[in-house]
Symmetry: C2
Subunit: 154 residues, 2 copies
DNA sequence: GCTTGAAATTTTAAGCTTGAAGCAATTCTT
DNA sequence: AAGAATTGCTTCAAGCTTAAAATTTCAAGC
């Protein structure tokens, strides 16, 4: 007896089911992280993302680069940086030789604040993904890495 | 020689890496779907989600139930349903015996419109998850299912 | 019947998000 | 060097999202 025929329809449904499950898990984790950030640091995920991107680049990033790294619209970054700057966590610095662009970087206060948040963030994720051992994590990561969606330009 | 010691730190980092990758893939797929919905149907993901929830329940759902199923705030659902109702795709129906609640259901036009969109949506997901065979899909699904985040109440 | 409390929904304020339009500065072309 | 296209950023309109406050209605308890 041969193996059962793979119905052409099944694969599509299976992928749809996987997508819905990924979406649900991701949203759940995001919601948990958002609430934690709000309650413990009176902050938000977008703010965290911006600060995370800036931490690595001590000389700062252009708005341009920031929006490309985070994969969000440039108009979006403007607002988030505005609010972070109001709070004294980041600062806009003029770029010599190009008066159109500005460089954004963490202030010392922003750097300190983010360091604390990042540590908490990692431990929250660690708790939320409880039950995933290193092997699973690595395995899922590999599978996800195969998706076209994970291969886009940085 | 014994197996390498599992550093306590490694697992946490590995989970963090997995989370960041899941987040990136999910956002990428969401962005693609959002754009498709906008260009081809002049619609949005939240509208799609609401209509999807309503399709199964031909008698409709209370705002209450809708917001619980979609896991979004009730105030949020109000706005989305408002706009769908403006477009004649859903309708609010009074519930006899309780003047506080309303039942929302797809209009025939909404039902037709969603059927077309749902078909396109499935094929988009199928393309976006190209490279994931049925076995992979099933496997990742199982792993995700183990997460505490996927075990919450429906 | 009246009051108190709970339930269903809407409203509100603040922030996030996008795509498109608008501005200013730079670079390219001729 | 003048005009044209490009680049970098902000502004804008519309919609999504949440948490919290406000409204209206229902359900008990007294």
């Amino acid at each position: 007896m041969t193996a059962p025929l793979p119905k052409p329809e099944t694969l599509s449904k299976e992928r749809l089911r996987l997508w819905l499950r990924m979406l649900r898990v991701t949203r759940q984790v995001e919601a948990a992280l958002r609430e934690k950030l709000r309650l413990e640091f009176d902050s938000t995920l977008p703010r965290f993302d911006v600060m995370a991107a800036l931490l690595r680049e001590r000389e700062g990033l252009k708005m341009n680069e920031l929006s490309r790294r985070l994969r969000v619209s440039n108009g979006n970054v403007t607002g988030i940086v505005d609010r972070l700057a109001d709070d004294g966590l980041v600062e806009r610095i003029a770029i010599e030789g190009d008066r159109r662009a500005t460089r954004v970087r963490l202030t010392p206060a922003g750097c300190d604040a983010f360091t604390v948040m990042a540590q908490a963030h990692e431990s929250w994720v660690n708790e939320l993904l409880d039950g995933v051992d290193a092997e699973d994590a690595h395995h899922i990561g590999e599978l996800l890495h195969r998706l076209p969606a994970d291969t886009g330009a940085r």
